[in-house]
């Protein structure tokens, strides 16, 4: 069991560029969660999928952010026209038991210059 795999580990983009972050959940887990972590805001919930269907995206900024889960083996978080305030560590987690146990990946550190 390799755990939740997130790629890339680090990404640097220029202001206005697009960033796509990848997550491979633990095999057999039915839910995938995305969180954003910053020093100021802490761990912010963004969105989650269950059985590949989007269930709750209440934490997603309405513009520029989108998430997909095209198959059970990966999910993507896309940020269009990145801004410096998007700089953060983006964490993906998967679960087979709802909120009881989330298994987090190591995160993608996004830096927008």
């Amino acid at each position: 069991n390799a755990g939740v795999i997130q790629t890339p580990r680090h990404k640097v983009t220029g202001k206005g560029q697009e960033a796509t972050l990848w997550c491979e959940p633990i095999s057999g887990h039915s839910a995938v969660f995305w969180y954003r972590q910053t020093i100021v805001q802490g761990l912010e919930f963004l969105t989650y999928f269950r059985n590949q269907a989007p269930i709750d995206d209440s934490g997603m900024p309405k513009e520029r952010f989108s998430a997909q889960m095209p198959n059970q083996s990966h999910s993507t978080l896309k940020i269009q026209s990145t801004q410096p305030q998007d700089s953060a560590v983006y964490l993906c987690a998967s679960s087979s038991r709802g909120a009881e146990t989330l298994y987090f990946g190591s995160g993608t550190r996004l830096t927008v210059l």
Binding site: L43, Y48, L91, G98, A99, E100, T101, L102, Y103, G107
Partner: protein
């Protein structure tokens, strides 16, 4: 408005002492309270959790004390070791069956040898 609050923001204890981390919450519907431990460069990992029907949960040197009436809980780390130095997040979920986890802002614990 933060639904889950943690204090202190940072805590330093000496090796062998008991570290006490505090957490409070707003939503009476929360019924599941996990604590996650995060080391630099890694994602958070589940450490210990308690349900609102219990007032105490122990696992090794980690103990959660829960006060439903006061809507607060604390994590006690007995005989702290330098390897326990990490950031600890209190989280909450509920009502039962909810798949969303709300995190506090974290307590950075440093254990001095």
């Amino acid at each position: 408005q933060q639904q889950v609050r943690q204090s202190p923001q940072s805590l330093t204890v000496w090796e062998g002492e008991t570290a006490i981390l505090n957490c409070s919450y707003e939503n009476s519907a929360f019924d599941y309270f996990p604590w996650y431990q995060q080391f630099p460069g890694e994602g958070p990992a589940l450490l210990i959790a308690i349900r609102s029907v219990s007032d105490k949960k122990e696992d090794g040197g980690f103990t959660i004390f829960f006060n439903k009436r006061e809507k607060n809980l604390s994590l006690h780390i007995k005989d702290s070791q330098p390897g326990d130095s990490a950031t600890y997040f209190c989280a909450a979920s509920g009502p039962s069956g909810s798949w969303q986890l709300i995190f506090g802002s974290g307590t950075q614990l440093t254990v001095m040898p």
